[in-house]
Amino acid sequence: MSIPIILFLVCALVAVAGAVVLILAREPIHSALALVVVMMALAVLYLLLGAPFIAAVQIIVYAGAIMVLFVFVIMLLNAGVEERTDFSKLAKFAGVPLGFFLLLEIAHWLAHSPIGAAIANGAGSSAGESSTTELSEMLFRQYLFPFEATSILILIAILGALVLARKEE
């Protein structure tokens, strides 16, 4: 096996394991940390796909900023251990089998349909590493309007949060 494949398998396993721990952990902080692990594993997967910029931004924004705020809030509120209720009956008898069925179906599709096989063999992914310069050219030339529209949307969201958080006088 070549090194990229080994790296992929390790990171994919770590990502899935982190996601499972995220759901099953009883301490909120453990869940948050599991989510950080998932983010890191995903960042390595982005690197393997030849998107180093996205990988770095994934770590800076998600693991380094958003999750730090999560951890900060959990620490500040001193959230206790979560109460565990039993799985609902619906989830146990319908959800789990259906989930497995979906997984099987995706696997079957990847293995047998021509489009799935093409995607699995790397069609549609760019050849080699895409540079940050190319990415910014796309972002600030071709997709300038959606980019600016998104930033205004985010600004509006910030203002909304400010208005909601302000104390009534």
């Binding site: 090194i3 301490e27 902080i29 453990h30 940390l33 950080v36 960042a43 180093p52 910029f53 770095a56 931004v57 770590i59 800076i60 693991a63 380094g64 900023a65 730090v68 705020l69 951890v71 900060f72 620490m75 500040l76 590493e129 540079s131 940050t132």
Partner: protein, 404 residues
């Protein structure tokens, strides 16, 4: 042998990481010695003096002491995270240094690998920020998992402080990125080549002076150093986030703090002080002999000190230092080596200057109050660094706009 020839990049990287780790760990140990010595002399004291000549073996003694102390875990602590936190802090602090180029990329091994940098990433600066942005976790988790009020308050303070100052830190750097148009460390340094009026180096220090000041201030806050060391303010919080830590886990936080200091000094050197570029024009060939001459002067001073002041075993210890410095100095005078170590020499000299400034600040300034810290970060530092970025961008764009 097959594996070695098939994976030249991997093998070279592993070897370089091992060498770099050894150098950085030694540097960390002696940075504590330097700090204690400098602060002591600023305050008219001697500092460490008894363990080895001039306290030179003090870091070693401290390390051994930390290894053999009892490692206490508070009974109510979250054991997993309590153990994980110091490892996380140290691992992140050390791995950031692996991205730094310590010399010109033209210096190559026979198999075509760069000698002075472990990796030469196109997104080097972004990746460094990615690693340092994770640094909050070590401190915040240590504070939370200790299950102690003081530690929790320290952890909360440090998260709030590091999030606040990281914004200014990143924005103050963007001005340099705009000037150079790249995120690669070697290209960022190469963009600072050349001279104004044939002798003033074209470093970013002059055009980005405001950015440099913002970066330096935010970097001190990022590394939790005086005057921004609120997370471990001993008058209020005992020792802040590492109150409950003992033995080697405590030492790991200590090492992580010094590793972070080295990282931000390296970054300041690369971004604003021209990295491994020499401050003198290339035609001044005598500068090649500066490192050797400096070491020989150090050896001469040590020899004089050995004979005139030291007694007993200290005389032997300082004698060894004299021989090492003298031998090193002679080797550095050999022309090919003298030319080859120019890059790392200037890089190290600049880092040491910034570290000295750090220590000087610690010996001079009192600590901020917490509300002062927050209003300074958000109301002064952030607007100034933003204004610096906008003005820089405008100066770059202006000629393009005028052309139409």
């Amino acid at each position: 042998m097959d594996f070695v020839s098939q994976h030249p990049v991997l093998v070279a990287a592993v070897v370089k990481i091992a060498v770099l780790l050894f150098i950085v760990m030694t540097a960390l140990a002696y940075l504590t010695w330097l700090e204690r010595k400098v602060i002591a002399h600023i305050q008219s004291r001697w500092g460490p003096y008894n363990v080895g000549a001039h306290g030179l073996l003090q870091p070693l003694a401290d390390g051994i002491k930390f290894l053999f102390k009892e490692d206490v875990t508070p009974p109510a602590a979250d054991r997993l995270i309590y153990t994980l936190a110091p490892f996380l802090a140290l691992a992140l602090g050390l791995s950031a240094i692996a991205l730094i180029p310590f010399g010109p990329p033209s210096a190559l091994f026979p198999n075509g690998q760069q000698i002075f940098s472990v990796v030469d990433l196109n997104i080097g600066l972004l990746f460094l920020f990615a690693i340092t942005s994770m640094g909050v976790y070590g401190i915040a988790l240590a504070g939370w998992s200790s299950n102690s009020k003081y530690a929790l308050l320290g952890g909360l303070r440090s998260s709030a402080q590091m999030i606040s100052y990281e914004v200014s830190l990143t924005i103050s750097v963007v001005g340099v990125i705009v000037l150079a148009g790249t995120l690669n460390f070697n290209e960022l340094i190469a963009a600072q080549k050349g001279y104004w009026l044939h002798f003033i180096p074209r470093w970013n220090l002059l055009p980005q002076f405001v950015g440099f000041l913002c970066y330096l201030t935010a970097a001190i806050a990022e590394t939790n150093r005086v005057p921004f060391d609120l997370p471990e303010a001993e008058t209020e919080l005992v020792a802040g986030f590492h109150t409950e830590y003992s033995a080697f886990k405590f030492a790991m936080f200590f090492m992580a703090e010094y590793a972070n200091m080295i990282t931000v000094s390296c970054l300041a050197t690369i971004l604003f002080l021209g990295g491994w570029l020499s401050p003198f024009p290339e035609t001044w060939t005598w500068q090649n002999y500066l490192p050797g001459a400096g070491l020989l002067m150090l050896a001469a001073y040590c020899a004089w000190n050995t004979v005139s002041e030291m007694r007993g075993i200290a005389r032997l210890q300082l004698g060894v230092v004299t021989l090492l410095a003298g031998g090193g100095g002679l080797i550095c005078l050999y022309p090919p080596i003298a030319a080859g170590i120019q890059g790392p020499f200037w890089f190290t000299a600049k880092i040491l200057a910034i570290l000295f400034f750090y220590i000087w600040m610690r010996a001079t300034l009192p600590r901020f109050r917490y509300d002062q810290l927050m209003s300074f970060g958000w109301k002064l530092l952030l607007p100034v660094s933003l204004a610096n970025l906008v003005i820089t961008a405008f100066v770059i764009i202006w000629p393009l706009l005028r052309k139409g």
